[in-house]
């Protein structure tokens, strides 16, 4: 009851005219920044922090949290409409969002993204409200072995993301992992795989560079070849009835929403994990558990809902360790944490008792921000659809400009823009030869996390792999590891079963 009263006070704080105005403004800015390739919530929040010094801390955090939230929604827009991930968190949204738009059903894709984000955001805020302190302790129990087990589970779900050609799928996973090892070794600090002594490789291969290259440039080359530059991306008609139909098309996505919301929140609260792995894992697990897993990648609403639920849920989850422990769960929350210190607040367990208006104002604003971002998203669908009405000959160079600026912006290195073009051309060629490219993108995200966690664990255990499998040493890690093994072998068992006992037609 006390929590409920505090929450009501928080919602009241969020509805104060200044706070509400900032919240709506923040959601709009976030949508725009999130939709721009190469820019994400980190850029939006970092750029806008100085503006917040002219308002009270509660209004400031409400504004920045709204930017964060809006960016999570916005990342899906360019993923669906253009096939370029607006942010790293929206890469998995491309897998099914883009095919939906190409089929002329962008409305379902955009509606799925908006509703998925809303559900994920709402579920996570409720979890946040009810279980913040105990969940923070769970997050603290996650050390290197548990993180590695979680990464193995993510990799196990990749098996379902590949095509029919297993060697090509494995190649895709492995090349992603090799690319993730380029740069300075995490443990010894030695440079590795620095090709031709080019210093640009020292900072590694940015995940967004690969994603924009493959899904931006590679995708455009593919479209140019198949359409011969003559037609639009897809034929689009748009009426209010279509939006209603878009909502109706989501009736089979309950499982995706559940997985995305809960998994996203859990991965989000883990320090150093964040919304990108959450979205990718959520997509993989939803695909594996779905009855229509073969349809994933061809444009199914559940393939959009799952990652969008997860990335929004994770963004709320990542605020939990920030507020309760002073540990940021993602790069954006690290900047928010810096902002809190600048505003004169001390993040940690005492924040809830010493600054209840601030904490509960933030939590209350998350409920309101979710609602307003859903409204904004659905209301702006006609504007987003207009993009597809632009003739392809004009749209294509604009997308290339977005790719080049998006490839440059994260690291501000022209080396990365060259790499992006290389990945785009190679991705186009490999895709034509039926090499699945999604596993490579996923591997480069999780590769560094997995390698670091594995090597730290093996240093702790003096090289013994028991640290991952023995319940008496690390029960959480062992449990996750065995679940991962089940996920890994499920598709293989299914393939064996089909070969041994073929279905009669």
């Amino acid at each position: 009851m006390e929590t409920f009263l505090l929450l009501m006070n928080g919602i009241g704080t969020a509805l104060v005219p200044l706070n509400l105005g900032l919240l709506i403004f923040g959601c709009l800015i976030g949508l725009f920044v999130g939709a721009m390739p190469g820019l994400g919530s980190v850029n939006g929040v970092a750029i806008l922090i100085p503006i917040t010094f002219i308002v009270p801390p509660t209004a400031a955090i409400i504004f920045l949290a709204a930017v964060y939230y809006g960016a999570m929604y916005g990342g899906a827009i360019s993923s669906i409409m253009l096939g370029i991930p607006g942010a790293s968190t929206a890469v998995a949204t491309v897998f099914d969002g883009r095919p939906l738009a190409q089929k002329g059903d962008a409305i379902t894709g955009l509606t799925a993204a908006a509703v998925g984000s809303f559900v994920g955001g709402t579920v996570s805020v409720i979890l946040f409200t009810l279980f913040a302190p105990p969940l923070a302790k769970v997050a603290l129990a996650f050390n290197a072995p548990e993180t590695f087990a979680l990464m193995v589970m993510a990799f196990a779900t990749f098996v379902g993301l590949g095509g029919d050609d297993i060697p090509k799928t494995c190649f895709s996973i492995l090349i992603g992992l090799v690319l993730s090892t380029i740069g300075l070794d995490l443990i010894s600090g030695q440079p590795r795989l620095i090709f031709f002594g080019i210093p640009g490789f020292l900072h590694g291969v940015n995940f967004l560079v690969l994603a924009i290259g493959i899904y931006g440039i590679g995708e455009m080359l593919w479209t140019l070849e198949s359409t011969k530059g003559a037609v639009q991306i897809s034929s689009i008609k748009f009426t209010f009835k279509d939006i209603i139909q878009g909502f109706r098309n989501l009736k089979d996505t309950v499982m995706a929403m559940t997985i995305g919301s809960f998994l996203g929140f859990f991965v989000g609260i883990l320090p150093a994990a964040g919304a990108t792995p959450a979205a990718l894992m959520s997509y993989g697990i939803t695909k594996q558990l779905s009855k229509n897993s073969k349809d994933f990648g061809t444009g199914v609403p559940a393939g959009v809902v799952a990652p969008e639920c997860a990335n929004n849920s994770a963004s709320t989850g990542s605020m939990l360790p920030m507020l309760t422990l002073g540990i940021p769960g993602s790069p954006t929350t690290a900047i928010l944490l810096g902002g809190m210190i600048l505003w004169g607040l001390t993040p940690g367990p005492l924040l809830f008792t010493q600054q209840p208006e601030f904490v509960w104002g933030l939590i209350g604003s998350l409920y309101i921000a979710n609602f307003f971002t859903l409204i904004l998203n659905v209301a702006l669908i006609p504007a987003f659809i207009m993009v597809l009405r632009i003739p392809f000959a004009i749209l294509a160079p604009v997308i290339f400009v977005l790719c080049v600026t998006g490839g440059y912006a994260p690291t501000q290195s022209i080396h990365d823009v060259w790499l992006m073009l290389l990945f785009g051309v190679v991705g186009y060629v490999l895709r034509k030869l039926d090499y699945p490219v999604a596993p490579a993108v996923l591997s480069i995200v999780l590769g560094p996390l997995a390698e670091k966690a594995m090597r730290q664990s093996l240093i702790i255990s003096d090289g013994s792999f028991n640290i991952f499998f023995d319940f008496s040493i690390k029960p959480i890690a062992a449990t996750i590891m065995y679940i991962a093994l089940v996920f890994l072998f499920l598709p293989l068992i299914s393939v064996m079963k089909n070969k041994l006992f073929p279905k009669k037609t």
Partner: protein
């Protein structure tokens, strides 16, 4: 040799196998062993992952010889001959854009890139193409430099922007 999908499959598989070997050699410049005392060498992970890549490509090559994959039996042209120019011109113009970005700056390069691309592929009027080619870099500049405070590469054209920066800051 005509570049059919079948030919492309084997050429790409051989190139990928060679790349895998090159990665193994490059990884071996670091320590690739793993002992309890010294832990994993920096090259251990990339080396063994590259070995895995090589094995995968060898299987793909084997499948090509035994014609077990759909691509190994496909005699259609790898790139649709009618669409050749779209792919090649796009890639070459992107190379030009990035080269130009590195040397004369992104804003000047964008003008030329957009003008060339629209003139080549679209049927719009010269007036539209000129306005579009000039407006896009201006919008890009306002968004990145003024709003986000992110400086995009300006190459040798950088001094041209000093007066604008004086006005902005």
């Amino acid at each position: 040799m005509k570049l059919t999908t079948r030919n492309a499959e084997i050429i790409v598989a051989i190139i990928l196998a060679l790349c895998s070997i090159a990665l193994m050699v490059k990884s071996a410049q670091n320590r690739i062993d793993w002992t309890v005392e010294d832990n994993m060498g920096a090259g251990f992970m990339p080396f063994w992952l590259s070995v895995g890549m090589l094995i995968c490509t060898i299987i793909t090559i084997f499948k090509w010889f035994t014609k077990r994959s759909p691509q190994s039996t496909d005699e259609k042209p790898f790139i649709d001959p009618e669409a050749n120019k779209y792919v090649y011109v796009t890639v070459l113009s992107l190379v030009g854009l990035i080269l130009g970005t590195a040397y004369v700056g992104i804003y000047i390069s964008l003008i030329f890139f957009l003008f060339f691309y629209l003139k080549y592929f679209s049927e719009k009027s010269n007036l539209f193409i000129t306005i579009f080619s000039l407006a896009t870099p201006v919008i890009t500049f306002c968004f990145f430099e003024w709003l986000l405070k992110i400086t995009l590469p300006q190459g040798i054209s950088e001094p041209l922007f000093y007066p604008i920066y004086d006005l902005m800051y």
